[in-house]
C-alpha cells in the first residue's frame, strides 16, 4: 500500500491538467463579481465559502439580473444537484470512513476532483485511496482561491473579447473524451445536451442541468437494458 502522502501527491499530479482551464475561469469570476457590484472581500468569501465555479457564476448572473434571493439560492441548488449524483458514485468508496473525513471530503467534491478520482477509486482498493480525492480537491482549492484573488486585482484589464469563458465548456468536453468512443454514451451525451439547450429558457429555476442529466440517465437505462436482451 502506498503512503498517504504518495496517494495525496498522485491526486495532485492527476488533477493538474484539469487546472489549466480553471485559471481563466477563476480570473473571469473575480473580474465579473467586482463588475456586478460585490466588494473584493465578498468576492473572496464566495470562492472560500461556496467553492464551486458553476454555483458562483450562476449566482453572479442572477444577481446582476436583479433576481430575488430565493430564486438565486434555489437556482444554485438546482445547478448543484449534479453533486448528489457525484456523491452517490464516490460514496461507495467512502462508506467506511469516519464522519470527520466525510465532512472534509464533501467540501472538496468538485467536478474536476470527482472526474479524476472516480477513475482512481474504481481501480484501486487501498484503504487510504480517498487521499487521492483530497489531493485533487486541495489543488483545485489553491488554484481557485488564487485566481479569484488575481481576478479581483486585474479587474477590467482582461479583454472580454478573448472569450475566456469558452474554456468552461471545453473543460467539460475534455472530461468526456473517452466516452465519445462508446455508442451508448454518445446517445446519452446528445440527449442530455439537447434537453439542456432547448429547456434552457423553459425549465424553471435553472433546473435544466438536472432535468437534462435525468433524461440522459433514463436513456442510458433503456439502452443498456435493450443491449442485454439482444
Amino acid at each position: 500500500m502506498k503512503s498517504n502522502l504518495k496517494v495525496f501527491l498522485k491526486g495532485i499530479i492527476d488533477v493538474s491538467p484539469l487546472m489549466i482551464p480553471v485559471v481563466p475561469f477563476g480570473l473571469i469570476f473575480g473580474v465579473l463579481a467586482i463588475d456586478v457590484g460585490f466588494t473584493p472581500i465578498e468576492t473572496m468569501a464566495m470562492s472560500l465559502i461556496i467553492f464551486g465555479g458553476a454555483s458562483q457564476i450562476v449566482l453572479l448572473q442572477l444577481f446582476s439580473g436583479g433576481a430575488s434571493s430565493l430564486v438565486i439560492i434555489s437556482s444554485v441548488g438546482a445547478v448543484n444537484s449534479r453533486h448528489l449524483l457525484y456523491g452517490a458514485v464516490v460514496s461507495e468508496h467512502l462508506s467506511d470512513l469516519k464522519l470527520i473525513w466525510k465532512i472534509i471530503i464533501s467540501y472538496f467534491l468538485i467536478d474536476q476532483a470527482f472526474a479524476i478520482s472516480n477513475e482512481y477509486l474504481k481501480n484501486n482498493k487501498d484503504h487510504n485511496r480517498y487521499f487521492h480525492l483530497v489531493g485533487g480537491g486541495a489543488t483545485c482549492w489553491v488554484i481557485w482561491q488564487s485566481t479569484t484573488f488575481l481576478g479581483i486585482i486585474l479587474g477590467a484589464a482582461i479583454p472580454e473579447k478573448l472569450g475566456l469563458s469558452f474554456a468552461v465548456p471545453l473543460t467539460f468536453l475534455a472530461l468526456l473524451v473517452n466516452d465519445f468512443r462508446k455508442f451508448v454514451n454518445v446517445i446519452v451525451i446528445i440527449i442530455s445536451g439537447l434537453v439542456a439547450t432547448f429547456g434552457y429558457n423553459y425549465i424553471p429555476f435553472k433546473a435544466y442541468v438536472i432535468v437534462a442529466a435525468l433524461a440522459g440517465l433514463f436513456t442510458a437505462m433503456i439502452l443498456t437494458r435493450e443491449n442485454k436482451k439482444a
Binding site: 449524483l85 460514496s91 473517452n178 440522459g216
Partner: protein, 104 residues
C-alpha cells in the same frame, strides 16, 4: 437579504448537496445494475453544461449561424477522441476559437 446572507446560503446549499449523498448512502445499496447506470453520470451531466455554453448566446437565445464556438468545439472533440488528451482537447478548442474570431 444582505449579500453576506446570500453568499452563506448559496455556500450552505452547495455543501449540503455534496455532503448528503456521501453521508447517507451505504455501500450495500449498490448492485451491478446501479453501478452500470451510475457510470453514465458524467455523460449525462457534463453535456448539460457544455451544450448551453456553446449554443446559447448572451441574451439567452439559441444561436447556430455565425457561432464560432460550434466549429471550435467540434474540432476540440475530434482532437480529444484521437489524442485522448485533456490538455490537447482544451487548447485545440481555444486555439480554433481564437483563430476563427481573430483571423478568419
Amino acid at each position: 437579504m444582505s449579500n453576506w446572507a446570500l453568499i452563506l446560503y448559496c455556500g450552505l446549499i452547495t455543501y449540503l448537496t455534496r455532503f448528503s449523498m456521501i453521508a447517507l448512502i451505504k455501500k450495500e445499496m449498490f448492485n451491478d445494475r446501479i453501478r452500470e447506470i451510475l457510470s453514465f453520470v458524467p455523460s449525462a451531466i457534463f453535456p448539460a453544461i457544455i451544450f448551453p455554453a456553446i449554443f446559447i448566446n448572451d441574451i439567452g437565445l439559441i444561436e447556430i449561424d455565425d457561432n464560432p464556438k460550434i466549429l471550435a468545439a467540434i474540432i476540440a472533440m475530434f482532437i480529444g477522441i484521437f489524442s485522448r488528451s485533456i490538455i490537447a482537447t482544451i487548447f485545440s478548442g481555444l486555439a480554433s476559437y481564437w483563430f476563427l474570431i481573430f483571423v478568419v
